[in-house]
Amino acid sequence: MILVGVLALPALGALLLALLPAHLDRSARWVGVAVTAATFLVSLALLDGRSSGAKGDWQHVDVRWVPAIDLRFHLGVDGISLPLVVLTTLLTLLCAIYTVHSLPAPGRAGTMLALVLVLEVGMVGTFLARDLLLFFVFFEVVLAPMYFLIAVWGGPQARHAATKFVLYTLLGSVLLLVGLLTVYAAAGTLDMVALAHAHGSGIARSTQGAAFLLLFAGLAVKSPLWPVHTWLPDAHTEAPTVGSVLLAGVLLKMGTYGLIRVALPIVPAGAERFAPLLAVLAVAGIGVGTLACFTQTDLKRLVAYSSVGHMGFVLLGISTLSEVGVQAALFGNIAHGVITSLLFFAVGGIKERFRTSEMAAIGGGLAKRLPRLGALLTLAAVASLGLPGLAGFWGEAFAVLAAYRPAASLDRTLYLTLAVLAAVGAALAAAYFLRMLRSVVAGPPPAAAQHAAAVPDASPVELLAWAPLALLGVVLGLYPALVLDLTKPAVALLVTALPG
C-alpha cells in the first residue's frame, strides 16, 4: 500500500495543483510543500518490513494493468531502490520549499509544482518498477515535465537546450525500448524479478550481447556517458534551479540505476562482453569532465560538466561487475545527488542575486559579501572534489578500488590502467573546484561591489532547503554505512548473477 501511496500522493497533488486557480499562487506553493513533505514521510515508511540483511524486495505489489500489451503494475522496494527513492522524495521536498522563496519568471507556481510532482511520480516509479515495460513507462514520464521546466522557466537559450535534451534522451529511449523488447522476445517475460533470478539463462549469449548494447546505449544517454553527454551542460545552464537540482540529483541516476537493475542481472553475458567498453568510456568521461571544467567560465556549466566526471566514477564502478564496484556506484549515485544538488542550489542562489552565473561578472569575495552562501558553496565544492570525510569520497575511491580488482573474467591490465587514470582524474577535480572558489568565494570583493546595493545573504527559507543537503553531505561522509548497509545485501544478491 505504501508503494502505491508514494506514487499516488504526488500524482493527486499534481492534479490538485493543476486545477488550482492561478491567483492562488501562495497557497499553491504551500500545497506543494505539504504534498512533497507527505510523500517524503511515506517514502520513509518504505523501510517497513525490512529485516536486516534482506536481499530481495521486502514490499511488493503485482497486479495486471494493461493486459493487451502484457503490462503489469509490478512494484517492489529493496536496498537498491530505497536510497534512491528517499533521495528523490527529499530533493523534491527541498525544491518545493525553495519555491516558496523563489520562482523564476513567468511565475505560475501551481503549474510548475504540478510538473515537479509529475516528475516525482516518474522518478520514484522508475526506481520501484519491477516490470520492464512499467519501468520504461515511468522512465519516459519524466521527459515532458522536465522539458517544460527547462523551456518555460529557463534562461534565454532554454528552448534550444530543452529541445536538445528531449530529442537526445528520446533517441536513447528508443534504443532502450528496443533493448527491453529484445529481452522480452528472448525470455518471454517482462518480470524483472524473475528475469534477474534467471541470470540470463534462456537467453542466447549473442542475444544478450545485442540486448545489453541496446540497453547500454539507451541508458548511457541519461547517465550521461561520454560522448553522449553534450545535452547536459546546455540543459543545466538554461534550466531553473529546481530543474537543475532534479536533473542532476535524480534524473541522471535513472540511467545508472537502469544499468544496475536491468542490464547487469538480466543479460549478464552481454554485460561481461561490453563492460570494458563501458569502463573505457566512463574513464574518458572522467578525464573530459575534469579537463573541460578547468576552462569553464560559467558556474552552472562548470557544475554540469563536473557531473559528467562524477557520473564517470559511478559508471566505472558498474563496469567492474564486482560487488565493491556496484556498491561504490550506488553510493556514488546518492552522494552525487546530495552534493550536486547543493551545488546547484548554491549556484542558483548566486545567479538569482547577481543575475548572472559568469564567474568574472560575479567577482570574488563571496565569503565576505555573503558569508552563509559562500560557506555553503565552499562546503559543496569541497564535498564534490571528493574530500575524504565528506560524501563524495567513498563512491569514487571505491570505484577506483573496484577497478583495481574487477570481476575475474575482465581484463586486469586494462582495468588497472583505468584505475590509475581515474585516481588522477579524481585528484584533478580539486584543481577546477579550487579555481572556482578562488575566483568567486575567496579574495577581496570587487571594488564595484562596495558601492552597489547590498545583496542579501541566504534567507531562512533557502537555508531550510539547503541545510539538509549540507548535513547529509557530512553525515554520509562520516558514516557511509547509512546507505551501504541498505544496499549491501541486495548487491550481494545481484552480483551472484554476474560472471566471475
Binding site: A68, L133, E140, L143, A144, Y147, A151, T163, K164, V166, L167, L170, S173, V174, L181, A185, W226, H229, T230, G287, V288, L291, A292, F294, T295, Q296, S322, E323, V324, Q327, G365, A367, P371, L387, P388, G389, F393, A397, F398, V400, L401, Y404, R405, V420, V424, A426, A427, L428, A431, L434, R435, R438, A442, G443, P444, P480, A481, L484, V491, A492
Partner: protein, 627 residues
Amino acid sequence: MTTLGWLVLGLPFAAAVVGFLLPQTATRSAQVLTVSATGVATVLSIIVATGAPVAGKPGVTLAPFGTLTVHAGLRLDGLATIVAVAVCVVALLVQFYSIAYLAGDDAYPRYAAQVSLFTAAMLDVVLAADLIQLLVGWEVMGICSYLLIGHYRDLPEARPAAVKAFLVTRVGDVGFLLGVLVLGVGIGSFDIGTVIAHAGSMPSGTLVTACLLLLLGVAGKSAQFPLHTWLPDAMAGPTPISALIHAATMVAAGIYVVARLYPVFRLHTVALAVLGVVAAITMLLGALAALGQDDLKRVLAWSTVSQIAYMSGALAVGAPVAATFHLLTHAAFKALLFLAAGCVLNATGEVLMSSMGGLRRRLPITFWTMTCGLAALVGLPPTSGFFSKDAVLGGAWEAARGHGGGPAWVGWLVGVAGLLTVGLTAAYATRLWLRTFFGPAHEPAAAHETGHAHGPGHVHGPWVVREPCWIMTVPLIVLAVPTVLLGFAGLRSSWLPARLDAPGVAVHPTLGIALVSLALSAGGIAWVVLAWRRAPGTDPVPALPVLTRAFYLDDVQDAVIVRPYRLLARIVSAADAGLVDGAVEGSGAGAGMLSRRLSRLQTGNVQFYATGVLAAAVLLAVAAVLL
C-alpha cells in the same frame, strides 16, 4: 581508555563544528570554546599516553563495501599517544597565541574552527586504527591548510599559495590513496594491525609498489623533494598557522605514517632506499634555500623542509625511533621558532630580515626563547635538537657499517648529506639570529600601510617596537622548556624509547658523531659570524639567485606540469564543444530542418515532445502487435 581516546579526537572536532556555526562576530565565544576544547583534549591525551597501550581492535563498521570493509577504531600504542600529546600541546598553544595575534580579525570564529578541525584531523591520522580512517584525517588536513593559508583575504599571494598547498599535496595523495588501496586489497583488510601482520605474505612486487605509492603521498604532505614547493609559499598564512603546519600537524603526518607502517616498509629495502635518496636531496636543498632567503618566515619554512628530511633519512636507514624522536623535538623547537617569529613580525611590522636588526634589547623574551629554538635547530648541546639529530646521524652511521638492515650506501648517503646539512643549518640559523637581533636597529617607518602583509591587521601610525602581550610570550616560554630539555628523555631506554615501543633502545649521543657534527656547526657559525663582523648589518651570505629561488624548481614545476595541463584542458574542452557537441548540434540542425518540413501543421514548442511521445507510443503498439 578507548573512550578517552575518542574524546581526545572528538573534542576538537566538536569545537570545530560548533565554531563553524557561530556568527563571525562571536569572537570571544569562539576563543573560549576552542581553547577549552583543545585544553581538555590535551589533558586527556596525557592521561591516555601514560596509561596502558590499547591495541586497536576493529571498532565501528564505517563502510561495508562487500568483500572489503572499512572500520573506525583507535590504536592507542606508545607511538600514537606520545605524538598525540605533542599535537595537542602545540595546537593548544597556537589557539592561545592566536587570541592576541589575530585580535581584531573579522573572521575569528571561522579561523578558530578551522584550527580545531585541523587538530582533529591530525589526531585522527595519529590515532586511527584503519588506513581509510587515517586517509580521512590526512586529506581533511589538506583542506584545512588550504583554508587557513588563504585566511588573509586581502593578501594577493595568499590565494595562489593556498591553492598550491592543496593541489601539490593532492598530487601526492593520489599515490597515497592508491597505495592504501593496493595494501587493503592485497591483504583483504584496511586494519593497520592486520596490514602490519600480513604484509609479508603479499607478493614483493605489489608490496614495493604499494610502499612507493604511499611515499608519494608522504613526500607531498611532508614537503619532500620534488613535492616540497608548496611549503615556503604557505607562509602567506597567519604565523600561528605556520607553527601548526610545520610543527605538529601536516608535515609531521607523512613521517608519522611511515613510522606507523614501519614493519611494512622494512620488508623490502627498495622503498626505503628511494626515501633515503629523497631525504638526502631534500636536506641539502632545504638548507641551501634557507641560506638565500630574506623573509624571516621563509628561512624557517625552508629549514622545516630540511629538518623533515632528517626524519625521512632516519626512517630510510632503519632508525624509526630516531625519526620519531626528531619529530618530537622538532615539533617543540619549530613551533617555538614560528611563534617567536610571529612576535617579531607583530612588534616590527616587517617580514624581511633586511628591515630588521638590533631587536634583542627591545624584545628580550622573544630574543632569548628564539635563541633556544635556534640552538636546538642547529643541534647545540644540551638542547633537544642535539640529541635527536645525533640519533639520526648515528642511525645513518650504523647503516653505513651494514647494521641498519638496508643497503650500506643509503647509510652513507644520508649520513654525509646529514653532516653537510649540519654545517649549512648552523650557517643559516646564525644568519637569521644576527640579522634579526643584532647590528644596527632599523627605525620603523613612521606610518605603515594598512597593517602589513603577513601580520595581523594592524594599527596605523608610529610604530613602537616592543614585546607583545603575555598571551603571545607565554607560549614561547612554555615551548622553550621541551626545546631545551626534551633531548634528555631519550637517554634511558625506559624513558622515551620505551614509550615509543622500542624497548632496549636508548637514544644517546655517540662521541665521534657528536664531535664531527659540532665541528661542522662551529664551522658554519664561524663562517657567518666572521662575515658579519666584517660588515655588520649587511647580509653575511652572498645573495645568490639560485638559492633565493630555490634552484628554480617552481619554474620547472610551472613549465613541466602547470602550463601543459592548462593547454591540455583548453584543447580537450574545445574538442568536446567543437567536435563531440558539434556533431550533435549538426545532426540536430539537420533533423530540425526535416521536422520543420514534417510539422508545418503544428505550432508551438510542444510539438517536439508530442512527436516524441507519439513515436514511442507507436513503437510500443507495433511491438505489442508483433511480439
